[in-house]
């Protein structure tokens, strides 16, 4: 039991460090929060007339529609950022210090993921506040809001696993940083920014099958529709699928790193 407690304490401590790091370095912080916020503001103003298109979901405003996409975008970027930070730790030799300590190896990665999850929750709160200030209505109410924060935190963890896996496998921050454009590719091929039925082909078809769309839809439904168990369940399923794959990959990459001493 004491070993478990020790590892939990380590995970929390590393998670705290991870969050502090992100807030202290503008080049990590800005892409996760500032740019998505700017983009949200601009896209709401720029494409807001889209609510008049036939086939567009019933919404109070385009902002209500966009909030979920902005949150998911932030999560993906937070996951990428966490991977970059982990790679920097590997390059600097900081992780060697941790590997030499009497703690669970995976606790080191888990600590990073906990930090990413915490940041995910922060972004959820941030965008919810932005939404409410600028006139959005959260149809899911308080329970919906809490559920959104939880789903976003879990999503961030799942996405963080991808960044961590790449970091552990390559050990190079520049490689993880190179994933940045891919984040947008995945986002564009989902319904994060626009309803899939109104997108152009082949993006529209890809978006229908993209698990990211299920996550976005689950969050979006809480804003524009209310508490929808089916949508939320599908979102949780997609998060679980992505999380299982990504965390599994990061565990494998960690084992490989420890075995090779790379």
């Amino acid at each position: 039991m004491s070993r478990l407690l020790l590892n939990l304490r380590v995970i929390v401590a590393l998670g705290r460090r991870s969050v502090r790091q992100t807030f202290r370095r503008p080049q990590l912080f800005a892409p996760i929060l500032v740019f998505p916020t700017l983009l949200l503001a601009i896209q709401t103003g720029g494409a807001g007339s889209a609510v008049d298109l036939e086939g567009f979901p019933e919404v109070n405003g385009f902002l209500d529609f966009m909030l979920a996409g902005a949150m998911v975008q932030s999560c993906l970027l937070a996951g990428n950022s966490g991977g970059i930070a982990l790679a920097v730790d590997l390059e600097m030799g900081f992780t060697d210090r941790l590997f030499a300590a009497p703690i669970s190896r995976f606790a080191i990665v888990a600590g990073r993921l906990v930090g990413t999850a915490a940041f995910g929750a922060v972004t959820a709160v941030w965008f919810l506040a932005i939404g409410l200030i600028f006139g959005a209505t959260i149809e899911g109410g308080v329970p919906g809001t809490i559920l959104m924060i939880a789903l976003v935190a879990l999503s961030a963890t799942a996405f963080g696993g991808i960044g961590a896996a790449v970091a552990l496998y390559t050990g190079r921050a520049s490689v993880v940083q190179g994933l940045f454009p891919l984040v947008f590719v995945v986002l564009f091929l989902s319904d994060a920014f626009f309803p899939a039925n109104l997108m152009l082909e082949p993006a529209a078809t890809i978006a229908e099958y993209n698990p990211l769309s299920l996550i976005v839809d689950g969050l979006r439904e809480l804003v524009i529709g209310g508490l929808d168990a089916a949508a939320v369940a599908e979102a949780i399923g997609a998060i679980a699928l992505i999380g299982a794959i990504s965390i599994g990959l990061s565990a494998l990459a960690l084992r490989r790193r420890l075995r090779l001493g790379a």
């Binding site: 709401t44 720029g46 454009p181």
Partner: protein, 268 residues
């Protein structure tokens, strides 16, 4: 032409200034040709965004009052300018790195005038911005962007170089002020905001709320429209072009002046 000053038998003047600018542009080229893969993100990113935005927001053309039939023709000016913006911001980041690592001091202790050093940095960005622009145009034409005519194409390249220059001036000013690569987000955000708070996603009549107001007064909107005319109508007219030129010149004076002012204060 008489040189400005003679020192140890050497003349300093236009010839040496041009040689300095050429040498700095040549050095900047190394980032592209000598670092494998370094250029790829900067070249690919604008095209990825172009394809993504077209795929996502392409349906907006169905709105009454939309001024283009194909969204890709409507949005390509934004992606062209974004590519130039990324390139200019990268110039700022490189300058910040050079400052952090002490390389820039080497240039500052030389007799080369500060404006000449700035010109060397900025011109390299202006030229480099043609690379992502060309790649983007090739992809754009492949997916159905309308041919803008030779005039429209040249105008587009002209404004791309202009935007690259602007972005490099902005990035350099930030780099000289903060002296750290940590200021990179500020360099990128500046161009991001300038380019997207325009008629980026839709014509002015379809923009909503605060964005419509900002787009009306944002000088970059004129640059966007000047480039866009060729791609959406197939022709360029002086009436649609001169506001963009005036905007570009005005912004060059403002941002170029800011960068120059920062260069002169490096010893503070």
């Amino acid at each position: 032409m008489t040189g400005r000053v003679e020192a140890a038998g050497r003349r300093f003047g236009a010839r040496t200034d041009l040689a300095t600018i050429r040498a700095l542009v040549r050095r900047a080229r190394n980032e592209i040709f000598r670092v494998p893969g370094a250029a790829i993100p900067g070249v690919l990113a604008p095209t990825i965004f172009f394809l993504g935005l077209t795929a996502v927001f392409g349906g907006l053309t169905q709105l009454p009052g939309f001024t283009a039939e194909e969204y890709q023709s409507f949005i390509i000016p934004i992606s062209l300018l974004q590519g130039a913006g990324f390139t200019g911001a990268a110039t700022g980041v490189n300058l910040a790195r050079d400052i952090e690592q002490g390389w820039f001091d080497r240039l500052l202790v030389s007799p080369a005038p500060r404006p000449v050093l700035l010109a060397g940095l900025v011109l390299s960005a202006s030229l480099r911005s043609l690379i992502p622009a060309t790649f983007l145009l090739i992809v754009g034409f492949a997916i159905g962007v309308s041919w803008p005519g030779i005039g429209g194409l040249l105008l587009a390249y002209f404004f791309v170089m202009g935007m690259g220059t602007l972005a490099a001036c902005w990035g350099s000013a930030i780099a000289l002020r903060f002296k750290t690569q940590g200021a990179a987000p500020l360099m990128q955000a500046g161009m991001f905001v300038l380019i997207l708070t325009t008629t980026a996603y839709a014509p002015i009549e379809l923009l909503q709320g605060w964005l419509a107001d900002i787009a009306r007064i944002n000088p970059v909107t004129q640059i966007v429209e000047a480039i866009r005319q060729g791609f959406t109508t197939g022709t360029v007219t002086w009436a649609e072009t001169w506001p963009g030129l005036v905007a570009l010149v005005g912004l060059l004076i403002a941002l170029g002046g800011l960068a120059l002012w920062r260069m002169e204060r490096t010893a503070e």
